[in-house]
């Protein structure tokens, strides 16, 4: 008589044997469960005290935190898509990046904190969270004069609409991402992480813009309502990439509680700058310890001279050219009402791949 394996043992067996991408598929199948707040809270048993508290008292906010982290990682992949390190989503290699204090670590911390700020604030405006809503703007002064709005004489305006309550998203990002801060302990790495989290949040909070809508008769601007809006997240990503390129190297001060810039006559980083303490590897070859996947097989641009060019991206190992033939929709036409009909075209694409 064979003793049947329990479900837990079977799942464990499955996880241990399957490669990462199949685990990814397995997760995808269960994606509704993954996005369930209780499921997330259960799966992150060893959260720090404040995070555990948030999971118990405000699980729907934790749901938005997860969405924000996802938003951050996707933006990271977009911003680094042409670089040697391209914010790979492979678990173990990505985890190695987070365990270092290189520039790339700084970017991931910042973009994730920004993503959480953005997602939670967005959920407020969408009415998806009971704890928050639209930001009240009644007490503010008139919106700044917008040149594109034409002459303001005779234009009635008022604060209204659904202003983004970025303060709420900012605070929740702080509570969740900086949970370690509450304990009072500090080591250099924690100080760096907290700084970069804050830089990410400020990349959202300090760049609120005024959005206005004209709703007079026939779309005229005789009546206008304005409200505060977060920057688009692509804009946040662009800004943080700039900070990444200009990041400051720091080291611990003698008191063990402060960070000082490395190098003579260097301006100390301000709150919005990214900081790091260790030099990045070159990311040319696979290296489990550093989280480098290497650039072999990456698509590169044989005519570009920047980081996406073949010489730089392939670490001067050379590249090979390949021609692929793809079938694409072409000559699309909209027919009334309402279908889009396209023809199929064969398109030759020249690819350059790193050796």
């Amino acid at each position: 008589m064979t003793i049947p394996l329990s479900r837990t043992q079977l799942a464990l067996f499955f996880i241990l044997l399957c490669p990462v991408n199949i685990i990814g598929l397995w997760w995808a199948v269960g994606s509704p469960l993954v996005m369930d707040p209780n499921s997330i809270c259960r799966k992150t048993k060893r959260l720090a005290g404040k995070q555990a508290e948030l999971c118990q008292t405000q699980p729907e906010i934790v749901n938005e935190v997860a969405k924000g982290a996802k938003l951050g990682v996707r933006e990271c992949q977009y911003q680094f898509r042409f670089r040697r390190w391209n914010c790979t989503s492979q678990n173990k290699y990505f985890g190695k990046i987070l365990q270092q204090d290189i520039r790339e670590t700084a970017f991931v911390y910042a973009i994730t904190a920004a993503g959480v700020t953005h997602a939670v604030t967005q959920a407020c405006s969408m009415g998806e969270l009971l704890q928050c809503g639209c930001e009240a703007t009644r007490s503010r002064g008139p919106p700044p004069r917008l040149a594109s709005m034409g002459p303001t004489e005779g234009v009635k305006w008022e604060w209204g609409g659904c202003g983004d309550d970025v303060e709420f998203g900012y605070e929740k990002s702080k509570q969740f991402m900086d949970a370690r801060r509450r304990k009072g302990k500090s080591d250099i790495r924690t100080l760096i992480d907290l700084h970069n989290n804050e830089a990410g949040r400020l990349a959202v909070k300090n760049y609120m813009r005024t959005e206005c809508k004209c709703h007079g008769l026939s779309g005229s601007c005789t009546l206008r309502t304005c409200w505060k809006k977060m920057p688009h997240f692509r804009e946040v990503g662009d800004r943080l990439l700039e900070r990444f390129n200009g990041a400051s190297k720091v080291m611990g001060g003698n008191d063990g509680k402060t960070l000082i810039p490395v190098g003579q006559n260097i301006k100390p980083p301000d709150k919005q700058d990214l900081i790091y303490s260790a030099e990045s590897p070159d990311f040319c070859l696979p290296n489990r310890k550093t989280g480098s996947l290497g650039t072999r097989g990456r698509t590169c641009n044989s005519t570009a001279l920047d980081v996406s060019g073949c010489d730089l991206l392939c670490c001067e190992r050379g590249h090979r050219d390949e021609t692929v033939v793809l079938e694409e929709n072409c000559l699309c036409r909209f027919h009334w009402c309402c279908v889009v009909q396209c023809k199929k075209c064969l398109v030759r694409k020249e690819l350059s791949l790193c050796q």
């Binding site: 995808a28 938003l71 989503s89 790495r189 809508k213 779309g219 005229s220 909209f334 009402c337 889009v340």
Partner: protein
Amino acid sequence: MKSLASLSLWRIIILILPLVSLGQTFEYGWPDNYDKPPQCVDIPVDLRLCQGVGYHQMLLPNLLEHESMAEVKQQAGSWVPLLHKNCDPGTQLLLCSLFAPVCMERPIYPCRRLCENVRDGCSPIMAAFGFPWPHILTCDKFPQDDMCINTPNDTSTSEPNGHPPVCPPCDNEMKMDVILDHMCASEFAIKTKIQEVKRENMDRKVTLQKKKRTIKMGTLKKKDLKKLTLYLKNGADCPCTQLDNTRNTYLIMGRKVDKQYLLTGIHKWDKSNREFKKTMKKLKSHKCPAYENVFK
């Protein structure tokens, strides 16, 4: 040695990485990569601008960035009177392709030619009401390829009209829906008689009698009401039978543009007309879509 902060962040990211990796192809079909994607909703019965347009579902938010149905209705309301003018066969199609866009995987904009035809046919009438062709309908931004909305049968059959065109504010059907739409699209409405009509440059200046009753106050103030003078914009030479008859009482609608009050509609106050009586009764309970409801 490992920072606990990094460990907890890693755990959060580990949870969502598989989802991110599977969606690695970047789909940025919509302007903002995080805002809610548009939803497919039925065109409501009371979105009068788009009844009978040829499809029954629309995208919300629409292509004019109206985010709620209340906002769509409020903004579409002032365009309904233009439909009644029949200035171009493609008017409704152009407006509804933006206010109530068809539900497709990606947005389908009106064709530039459709926009230009409607603009050329309708902007003179809009000018009579004091409206320039609005920025939201600038034709240059619409596509010229085949992936756009055009009039189904694109044959420009222009019927030469023997009569000179009636002044747009005077060219009104005695019909409840038309009058109510005009009422909502106007800022004020009064019951009064005409005292004098005079040409003034390209316009006609209409002086009203002292005795007036306010039907819809709107932006009008009491002191302005006393000495109210209305202008028929670009109406120096077009026919308007209502202005020729100073003995009748009229329902007069208007709006303020800069410092002038423009006539936007004039109907004979005809108590013997059943449709008119029905309209006046309905007027007491009729509510125009108001912008206050949209944003608060």
